[in-house]
């Protein structure tokens, strides 16, 4: 046992009969504040003697016909605005002994208007308490998975809620698997059963989001979802929780704690399951986008190839002009050739003529003959060589024949033969010799 200053150890009373004031007030305080009833109670009464201190604390009394309770409500506690003289209020708080003032005070932490039912009062109190602890903070709300594969469901296995949720998910996104953690959702066993079901889903580990759902009902019916233990279990869940309790107008504590509140169980299913129709549309949009971009790319490459081809073609020598140049050259060559041949022909002709003029055969053809002395084979060019009786050989155009010089009866003159000659043959022979 510790002996804190001012405390009265048991057994001390026998040894000492006089206490200090501090010892007594401290003992009183300890006694009062260790009493579980006095530590957490609701008191109904009429507010009076209200005084607000400079620091903002409210000092007042709660009274009824017979008695009066001194009260203090520190600044910032909810409901202080209700504390006007004469107002009936339900106040929540604890009893404390104020040693310096020697007074027993009711330290109020929540004031509510009189007339609220007990459950409503308790609900309000719990709400304030958990809110102060930070269980409702928006900053701790987690995002839901976009495409959950596994969705946990804490609800009654019988009843329309399960059915509704199934239908919505089947219609929207049947790709996911529902993990049902069945539980009772009403009555005194509900709170621990709900906690256990949530625990089971957390232990299973597959669910990426959990729906806690219940159909509509009275405040009493929905009460398990207002239990502090259930609220704390929801707060502690590793898996994000969507609450869907009752109708749209019903609010429970776990709605505040959950990562997301759905107005109804069907709405919860819609919040959790993506919409297949929207997804289909998105898929086809992505498809169209891809197709468009690939087509653009293809077209731009095709244009690029065409541009390059054009450039390459442009840089090639001009086929047409080459063809023209070849034509021109061919024409020039042709003309030159023709001229050349014509010239050659002319030259051949003139040579032929020249040759024809020089050819002795031609002379013979014209009727001349060559006379030679047969014995000396000398051409007779003088009459002195032609003595009477001398043998001669006379050559004419087609051959030679012998002759004898006769007696001269008169002067001899050359004979001109008018005989057609085979000029052509001679010419051919001459040509042949030429070529």
């Amino acid at each position: 046992m510790t002996l804190a200053p001012g405390s009265i150890p048991s057994g001390l009373a026998e040894a000492v009969s006089v206490y200090t004031v501090a010892q007594v007030t401290s003992h009183l305080r300890e006694k009062l504040e260790s009493d579980p009833l006095l530590a957490d109670l609701w008191v109904l009464g009429e507010a009076s003697n209200l005084r607000v201190s400079a620091a903002g604390h409210s000092y007042f009394s709660l009274k009824d016909e017979q008695s009066l309770l001194r009260c203090v409500m520190f600044k910032g506690q909810p409901g202080s605005e209700l504390l006007v003289d004469g107002a009936s209020v339900s106040a929540h708080g604890h009893i404390s002994f104020y040693e310096r003032g020697g007074t027993t005070d009711f330290v109020v932490d929540l004031a509510m208007p009189q007339g609220m039912g007990e459950l409503a009062l308790e609900l309000e109190r719990l709400k304030r308490k958990l809110e102060q602890e930070g269980l409702f903070l928006a900053s701790r709300k987690r995002a839901l998975p976009r495409f959950p594969k596994y969705v946990g469901l804490v609800t009654s296995p019988s009843g329309s809620v399960l059915h509704d949720i199934e239908n919505v998910i089947r219609r929207r996104y049947p790709l996911l698997e529902l993990l049902l953690a069945p539980t009772v959702v009403q009555g005194p066993d509900a709170a621990p059963a709900i906690i256990k079901a949530l625990e089971r889903l957390n232990q299973d580990g597959r669910a990426e989001v959990v729906i806690i759902a219940r159909g509509g009902g009275s405040l009493e019916d929905l009460w398990p979802f207002n239990e502090e233990s259930v609220a704390r279990a929801v707060y502690a869940s590793r898996v994000p929780v969507v609450s869907a309790i009752g109708h749209e107008t019903d609010f429970t504590i776990i709605d505040e704690v959950a990562d997301l509140r759905a107005p109804t169980p069907s709405a919860a299913a819609e919040l959790v399951a993506p919409d297949g129709r929207v997804l289909r549309r998105q898929v086809s949009e992505l498809e169209a986008r891809s197709r468009r971009n690939v087509t653009l790319l293809l077209n731009s490459r095709r244009d690029g190839v065409a541009t390059l081809a054009n450039r390459m073609e442009a840089s090639l020598p001009d086929g047409e002009s080459w063809r023209r140049r070849v034509d021109d050259l061919a024409r020039v060559a042709n003309t030159a050739m023709v001229n050349h041949i014509a010239l050659a022909k002319t030259r051949v002709h003139s040579l032929d003529v020249q040759l024809g003029a020089l050819n002795p055969v031609a002379t013979l053809n014209r009727g001349f003959s060559v006379v030679e002395r047969a014995d000396e084979r000398q051409v007779v060019t003088s009459k002195d060589q032609a003595r009477e009786g001398a043998p001669l050989v006379i050559t004419v155009s087609d051959g030679a024949f012998p002759a004898i010089v006769g007696s001269s009866a008169g002067p001899v003159s050359p004979v001109r033969k008018r005989q057609p000659v085979q000029k052509k043959t001679a010419k051919k022979t001459a040509m042949r010799q030429l070529l």
């Binding site: 998975p145 976009r146 495409f147 594969k149 596994y150 296995p157 199934e166 998910i169 089947r170 996104y173 049947p174 790709l175 996911l176 698997e177 529902l178 993990l179 049902l180 953690a181 069945p182 906690i195 256990k196 079901a197 625990e199 089971r200 889903l201 957390n202 232990q203 299973d204 580990g205 597959r206 990426e208 233990s229 704390r232 279990a233 707060y235 502690a236 869940s237 590793r238 898996v239 297949g276 997804l279 289909r280 998105q282 898929v283 086809s284 992505l286 498809e287 986008r289 891809s290 197709r291 971009n293 690939v294 790319l297 293809l298 490459r301």
Partner: protein
């Protein structure tokens, strides 16, 4: 949490979940839109994209909602005192 994102980029498309296929399709569309790909690369991505489109639609069309009821298997084990602090328990 169940592994969902960051699929193995080489995983065959037929084995992808809807989320994975949808995500990859989105990435392909982005890449095609961003440009800067070679024609061959773009063509092969486009081809993959069309397979992904089929995969996504097939998954949406053929899925059957599965409902599994969790048995009390966990409660049959020696009951540990459960506290709301399972937040701290890490797998």
């Amino acid at each position: 949490m169940v592994e969902t994102s960051n699929p193995d980029p080489d995983a065959p498309i037929e084995s992808l979940s809807f989320e994975q296929a949808f995500q990859r399709l989105g990435e392909l569309a982005e890449a095609l839109e961003a440009g800067g790909l070679t024609l061959a690369d773009a063509a092969s991505r486009y081809e993959d994209g069309m397979i992904l489109v089929r995969r996504c639609n097939q998954l949406l069309d053929q899925a059957e909602l599965k409902i599994t009821t969790l048995k009390d298997a966990y409660t049959r084990e020696p009951e540990e005192e459960w506290s709301p602090g399972f937040d701290e328990k890490e797998d």
